[in-house]
């Protein structure tokens, strides 16, 4: 048996009752990013979690990267509230979580509320308390009390991109229907350039199926719009990948830039989707110089029996002398011979209306980007 997939949905009758009688319960308004966490918990993406972490789990995750029962779990998934909000809620009480527009998202049985040490949180998870680290900045913005307790989903909507938004139970059934016994998960936040494609093809040489799983969510200025990422990948799949060997589904998720810990988190999430392998490149989920280039790969050496095999890759590039894509492991030529895809350079060229070299990005993918009125976040 693979890992049990959590599915926590309020049944139809209770859902109707809650929608009618919602004013009978305390309500907490949560951010769009927290809505994603709630849905990921209830839809099994974060299995084995069944709710927001309580104090024991939280402490052990921060200090040891494990849940209270010993299972590896690298990131604290928590609900933060103000002192005022916390005071209005008692342990054991049912509360309703609403999004920023006031839509009912989930019910939560609050098991406990507790304070936490932000510095300990950050040093444990991010390895730093430097406020310029985006994960640390996120924790610094959090409210002082955490609520732990089980969740059940009320809002079943899968917008945006519902066609591409599959649950773990669905991808598992899909992989089985395709006859795939081995599946490699590929995490991305970008339109695919040649280096991404090279890694995907290398990985696909070794397994039955490729699961492209773009992270959809909070972006920074200059990042590609989610729609462009999906359109570009769809083009790649339709025109350049073998039929029935590649599937794409999105992952609405908040990035924490926790480097090695986040790489483990990403791998566990893909295991839940049914992947048997996961690609981890250099500096996976890193930011700035906070982590060493191989930290996110080496952490897996300390975690035997994780249940998913990690495919570790170097950065790849086009080498005119080799006449193809390669990595430092396979190319003997000098660094200045190599054409390395750079997200920043690609973006600058596209903004200026210039052509991107076909060795860096397929012309068909460039066309998809150019067809979009505003391909980048501002």
């Amino acid at each position: 048996m693979g890992p049990r997939i959590v599915r926590r949905f309020v049944n139809e009758k209770d859902r109707r009752d809650l929608l009618i009688n919602q004013t009978n319960f305390p309500q907490i308004k949560i951010s769009d990013e927290l809505v994603k966490e709630v849905k990921n918990i209830c839809r099994g993406v974060f299995s084995p979690l069944t709710g927001f972490l309580g104090q024991d789990d939280f402490t052990r995750v921060v200090e040891e990267m494990r849940l209270g029962d010993g299972q590896v779990w690298p990131l604290p998934i928590v609900l933060d509230v103000s002192e005022d909000e916390a005071e209005k809620i008692s342990d054991g009480q049912k509360v309703l979580l609403k999004d920023s527009q006031g839509n009912l998202i989930a019910e939560m049985r609050v098991a406990e509320k507790f304070h936490y040490d932000k510095e300990k949180f950050c040093r444990g998870v991010f390895g730093t308390f430097d406020p310029t680290h985006p994960g640390v900045a996120m924790v610094n913005r959090m409210s002082p009390v955490l609520l732990g307790g089980e969740l059940s989903l009320i809002d079943f909507s899968r917008d945006p991109f519902s066609k591409y938004n599959l649950d773990p139970i669905e991808t598992r059934i899909l992989f089985k229907a395709k006859g795939w016994r081995t599946v490699v998960g590929f995490q991305t936040r970008n339109v695919s350039h040649r280096a991404h494609e090279y890694l995907q093809r290398c990985a696909l040489e070794m397994v039955d199926g490729l699961f492209i799983n773009p992270v959809i969510g909070e972006k920074k200025g200059g990042d590609f719009q989610d729609q462009v990422i999906l359109d570009a990948y769809q083009k790649l799949i339709d025109q350049f990948y073998p039929k029935n060997r590649v599937i794409m589904s999105i992952l609405p998720l908040r990035m924490r830039y926790a480097g090695p810990r986040e790489a483990v988190f990403h791998a566990l999430v893909r295991k839940n989707f049914g992947c048997t392998h996961f690609v981890v490149g250099r500096d996976h989920a890193g930011v700035g110089d906070f982590y060493g280039p191989y930290d996110a790969q080496m952490i897996f050496d300390r975690l035997p029996g994780l249940g998913i095999q990690i495919m570790k890759f170097e950065h790849s590039f086009y080498c005119p002398k080799c006449g193809g894509m390669a990595t430092m492991k396979t190319c003997p030529h000098n660094d200045h011979d190599r054409i390395k895809p750079s997200g920043t350079e690609i973006r600058e060229k596209l903004i200026k209306g210039e052509d991107v070299s076909p060795e860096v990005m397929r012309p068909e993918i460039c066309e998809v980007i150019k067809e979009c009125d505003n391909p980048f976040f501002e």
């Binding site: 048996m1 693979g2 066609k163 599959l166 139970i169 059934i173 016994r181 081995t182 599946v183 049914g274």
Partner: protein, 79 residues
């Protein structure tokens, strides 16, 4: 905890290997891990899975599976 007797040369080999692996704090921990891995592999082979990492069956009913397949067909993921 049960005890099992093994040959000295196997034990020495395991000690050497355990000492090279920073992630194991004792030979016992390393041996437990190795044995579990072997058992998992044998079980996978017995189930007819020819790869250590083959996707394993999930506990869901036939009815649920059909419902999901219907959605996947509707979305164009399967024919």
């Amino acid at each position: 905890m049960a005890e099992i007797t093994i040959k000295d040369e196997i034990y020495q080999k395991l000690v050497e290997r355990a000492n090279q692996k920073a992630e194991f704090s004792s030979v016992q921990e390393y041996v437990d891990y190795i044995l579990m891995e072997v058992v998992k592999k044998i079980e996978a082979e017995e189930m007819g899975l020819d790869n250590d990492n083959a996707v394993e069956d999930e506990a869901y009913s036939k009815e649920e599976e059909e419902k999901v397949k219907e959605r996947l067909r509707g979305l164009g993921y399967i024919d």
